[in-house]
Amino acid sequence: MSKVLDNLKYAPTHEWARVEGEFAYIGITDYAQDSLGAIVYVEGGDVGDSVSQFEEFGAVESVKAASDLLSPLSGTIVEINEEVIDEPELINQDPYTHWLIKIEMSDKSEIDNLLDAVSYQKMAK
């Protein structure tokens, strides 16, 4: 059973969002990192790029798979986690601490479209 954190919101495509005021940190879930295996590369867009809910903003690659990253929320990228770009294996170690991008949200009501921890857990079995 994969790990989920209660204070996060989830997209059915295995990304999570941590909302802090006007901003949100975005990453991939434990289920995602486990399915991918050892992650070798992350591409998350650039600061200033806009992202849309449930649309592609980057990709994450392991030896055996490459997955598109779909943003759980819409907004503009204000920060990229450089640490994770340099050492993608950090995501495997702790996918909830090691976020990928930080966005300034454009529409907070979109949070309602996301799953809570319990619903996501059910789905991700």
């Binding site: 050892a38 070798v40 590369y41 690659e61 392991s62 030896v63 993608p88 294996e89």
Partner: protein, 477 residues
Amino acid sequence: MYDKLIFEISQPNRQAYSLPETEISGVDLPASLKRQLPLDMPEVSELDVVRHYTRLSQKNYGVDQGFYPLGSCTMKYNPKINEEMASLPGFVKMHPLQPEKTVQGAMQIYYETSQMLAELTGLAEFSFNPFAGAHGEATGLMIMKAYHLQRGDTKRTKVIVPDSAHGTNPASASVCGMDTIVVPSTPEGTVDITALKKVLNDEVAGIMLTNPNTLGIFEKDICEIAELVHANGSLLYYDGANLNALLGIARPGDMGFDIMHINLHKTFSTPHGGGGPGSGPVGVTKALVHLLPNPRVIKEKGKYRWLTNEQSIGSVSGFYGNFLVVVRAYTYLRTLGKENVHHVGYLSVLNANYIKESLKEYYKLPITGLCKHEVVFDGLISEKATTLDVAKRLLDYGYHPPTIYFPLLFHQTIMIEPTEVESKETIDDFINTMIKIAQEAEANPDLLKTAPHNTIVRRLDDVKAARNPIIKYKDIV
């Protein structure tokens, strides 16, 4: 073990070439046009080169030395007469732009091979311009798209593929600007017709199928599928990767396929070369011949001519594809002749079913019933080790493992294709080895998990290779 790169055996001022004296001298290039970067290429003697690459070859494994049961790859024997014919100066020394009257022999090879393949497949004509199977697929899908556009139908932008399809199928659709719709398989491993009916509409350009499919199972409903697809105004594309099972037995054209590609390096015995050059000729029904890529060989008043036509999809190659590979396939076809082609189908299917029956006590058989030229197992019945472990342990016994983890329908897939060239003894040895490994998995699974033990290198760190790619010599000096 010899472990040097060619750059590592380089010594200044060694040379390995000779050129005749020349009486022509001339001025140097203007400095502004010249390369300023140093050129660090090896300086070695001829013997250095011969030894280096000979030793490298000894770190490889070819069909000539042993069984190579890779599913969907058809690793059959590469006849040496084919090599001899492909090295005749009359073929090797021809410039592609020579006037037609000076290359009638080369054009004859293309023309007659097309005719023989047409007869074997039930289609009308083949183009040899595509260089490989995936290239043939993309070309075939371009033909499919162009067919609809020429009819004035711009809505047909989707291609249906079964969930068992090889990755090149949806990738080729993307290359042609088309989207893929995936249709599920039934538990028996064949296309689910009910599901297919649901996705057929006026946006579907066609369906890509291989028959037998990647599970080695014959799509018995193929005629019904063909009717449904044609009634929908769509076309059927045949991925020829598994043609070996049907060679001399049944023809894709007779099943209703409109377009297909063949892998000459699979079904027609041309060597794989470690990953190419292959050849992926594309064949079509008469109605689609005008769409074949340019140029084509036609015969007019007993002479062979190039035809370039405006209605064609255009060009997919700089010249005419891998001509010398086609020469090999031609030689093979002339060697087999009409008397022997059916042996390919019968014996490849015999060998695969024999393996199926012999291993089903040890390896899970997700689909029972007759297979065709290849059989798919879903890992060890005991589950004491993974398919990867079994494959790596096979290396210790001197075998090239079968295809693993494809198709994606099961989680521990092992796809075994023996081909028709293997004797009962070879197959029995393989069966006994697979059984031994299954038994080792029960008694001592670690032996598999840490395999291979006997190869010159053991399991390689592919995560490291992907994280910090080192892809040239300068990356390590």
